[in-house]
């Protein structure tokens, strides 16, 4: 049996979770077994049933008022309890903030091999042989699990969501968290912004020091909102306070892999690329033809961003106007 950690947040299953669900059910198929999910906390049956579209044939529900807000301790204990009772061979997590906090604990509890950044289905002819992303996207590591069970987190945007409808049953699973599970608890959530969250965004418009100053970001925001993209920035622009810190992408900021990354006035320093080089399509706008970013770009314009961006905005408006 393959078990999915069905993380539910902000009223839905995030794209990363659906990718993990597809991965889990494809893995189950290749192992000749079924795919189940564990859901911790209050989630409607209706929402849980939607997992059946992605090959999940059973959902173990753990509902307890104490589990309504996330703690890695309690959620890991709950997940491990299901994993042990169902004798799951592989526990699959989306590589989200919460998934990454729970996975290592589960691995210790059930004595599993644990690894993150997984980009492909494993070769299971002889145990688990997997490929994972390493060196901030600059390398791929092939690994062999040493234990019988594995706990893995799937790199976001590296596994395609595919429909695989199956019948699905829901079952209540009896579990009550230990009192020691609540030593670190969230008291409040502070929303960063109303915009699209960077880690989830399919499209990202990002800008750097070439913008000259924060007052020029209006056109970046306009471009982003026209195509429904999230906005991001390079480290120095966040450090100088031109942009909020949560927009900083790169090795020391957020790592993202959207379908489209548009880099405007960003040189493409190696530390910046480390956070964005896994993007599927990269567009670079820079006045310096030698800017290193062009080396990994799919499309480029060598030109002054203050001329180029307005032209792009006008062209997009034209397309949007037609459709």
């Amino acid at each position: 049996m393959v078990l999915l950690f069905a993380e539910y947040s902000d009223g839905h299953f995030k794209k990363a979770v659906l990718e993990a669900a597809t991965y889990a059910s494809d893995l189950a198929k290749s192992l000749g077994t079924t795919c189940a999910a564990v859901s911790v906390g209050a989630v409607s049956d209706e929402a849980l049933k939607t997992l059946s579209h992605y090959g999940v044939s059973k959902v173990y529900k753990i509902v307890d008022a104490k589990l309504d807000s996330f703690t890695n301790t309690a959620y890991a204990a709950a997940t491990a309890a299901v994993a042990i009772q169902t004798n799951a061979k592989a526990i699959i997590f989306a590589q989200t903030y919460n998934g990454r906090a729970v996975a290592p604990r589960v691995a210790i509890k059930i004595d599993a091999s644990a690894y993150s950044g997984v980009i492909q289905l494993p070769d299971t002819t002889n145990g688990f042989a997997s490929l994972r992303s390493a060196f901030s996207g600059k390398g791929i590591e092939a690994i062999q699990a040493g234990k019988e069970k594995v706990v893995i987190t799937i790199k976001t945007n590296s596994y395609h969501i595919t429909a695989n409808p199956v019948d699905c049953t829901l079952e209540n699973f009896a579990f009550s968290p230990a009192s020691t599970s609540f030593e670190a608890v969230a008291k409040e959530i502070v929303k960063a912004s109303e915009g699209i969250s960077l880690t989830e965004a399919e499209l990202v418009v990002s800008a750097g020091r070439g913008m000259k100053g924060p007052e020029n970001w209006g056109m970046i925001e306009e471009l982003a909102s026209l195509i429904g993209a999230a906005t991001a920035c390079s480290k120095p622009t966040a450090d100088m306070g031109w942009r909020p810190h949560h927009e900083h992408v790169g090795q020391t900021g957020i790592q993202i892999a959207p379908n489209l990354y548009i880099a405007i006035g960003i040189s493409g320093a190696i530390q910046h690329l480390a956070g964005v080089s896994s993007s599927k399509t990269i567009v670079v706008i820079n006045k310096d033809a030698e800017a290193p970013f062009f080396k990994i770009a799919d499309y480029g314009i060598v030109g002054d961003l203050f001329e180029v961006v307005p032209k792009i905005i006008a062209a997009i408006k034209k397309i949007k106007g037609k459709s």
């Binding site: 791929i140 030593e183 969230a186 959530i189 530390q271 799919d298 062209a315």
Partner: protein, 245 residues
């Protein structure tokens, strides 16, 4: 209060990653190694607690061979009091976490800091494993930490915002940007670091969880398609035709 800071010894952020011909290991020749930047956020925060008179001792720990000692000395130069090197090759997360948990057990550390991940293997498993092995609370992706009464108030990054977390001590904290500002060691710190204690401890036996069987490079990108400023509209059309916008 005693603080333990886990330090990973990683290639400098500007390193061009090259694997040895057999594809089995990283080619370390000419590579400069540094303190993992995420670990350094925790290290500096620990030193700040010490400067505020809230912590008496900041110990740094690294699992690695003698080659990691300059990295530990740099942590001492930044301000840690003493260093521990577990004398073993850091084969995988389970092994490293097992060594650090075994060392920390029973020594009364109130905070164990680590980075959210190391910038080489990007694993991010070690801190949560240490917490589980020591049965401690764990706050991951922490961007702020203040001590309050006998516990701590932290901020933790989540999708689209931050959680404010209250935790008891001891606690394991994995750090990211926001926790503190990196520091460059000054001359006095560098001089002092040479005589600060660096203890070498032999490893305990821990089964490894995963083995690396080899490395490869990600598939190279095709070449870039260029448009002139005047052709900006063509770029938009190309993206539109690919279904991207």
């Amino acid at each position: 209060m005693k603080i333990l800071v886990c330090i990973s010894h990683v290639p400098d952020t500007t390193t061009k990653i090259v694997f040895n011909q057999d594809g089995k290991s990283l080619n370390a020749s000419g590579v400069t190694f540094i303190i993992n930047p995420y670990d350094e956020f925790g290290l500096v925060r620990a030193i700040e607690f010490q400067e505020q008179g809230k912590a008496e001792q900041v110990t740094v720990i690294c699992v690695g061979g003698a080659e990691v000692e300059p990295t530990l000395r740099k942590a001492l130069a930044i301000g840690a009091n003493d260093a521990v090197r577990i004398n073993a090759n850091p084969t995988d997360a389970l092994f490293v976490a097992g060594q650090i948990a075994a060392y920390a057990k029973g020594k009364g550390f109130d905070i164990i800091f680590a980075g959210k991940e190391s910038i080489d293997y990007n694993g991010g498993m070690v801190p949560g494993m240490i917490a589980e092995m020591l049965e401690l609370p764990f706050v991951s992706f922490a961007t702020k930490m203040e001590l309050a009464g006998r516990g701590a108030v932290l901020r933790r990054e989540v999708d689209g915002g931050e959680e404010v977390i209250e935790s008891t001590l001891p606690v394991v904290v994995s750090c990211q940007k926001g926790m503190s500002e990196w520091r460059i060691p000054n001359m006095r710190g560098i001089m002092a670091s040479r005589t600060k204690p660096l203890l070498v401890v032999e490893p305990i036996s821990v089964a490894t969880g995963v083995q690396t069987s080899g490395y490869a490079y990600p598939s190279a990108k095709g070449s870039c398609v260029y448009f002139s400023t005047e052709e900006s509209e063509n770029l938009v059309n190309a993206l539109h035709n690919k279904g991207l916008i």
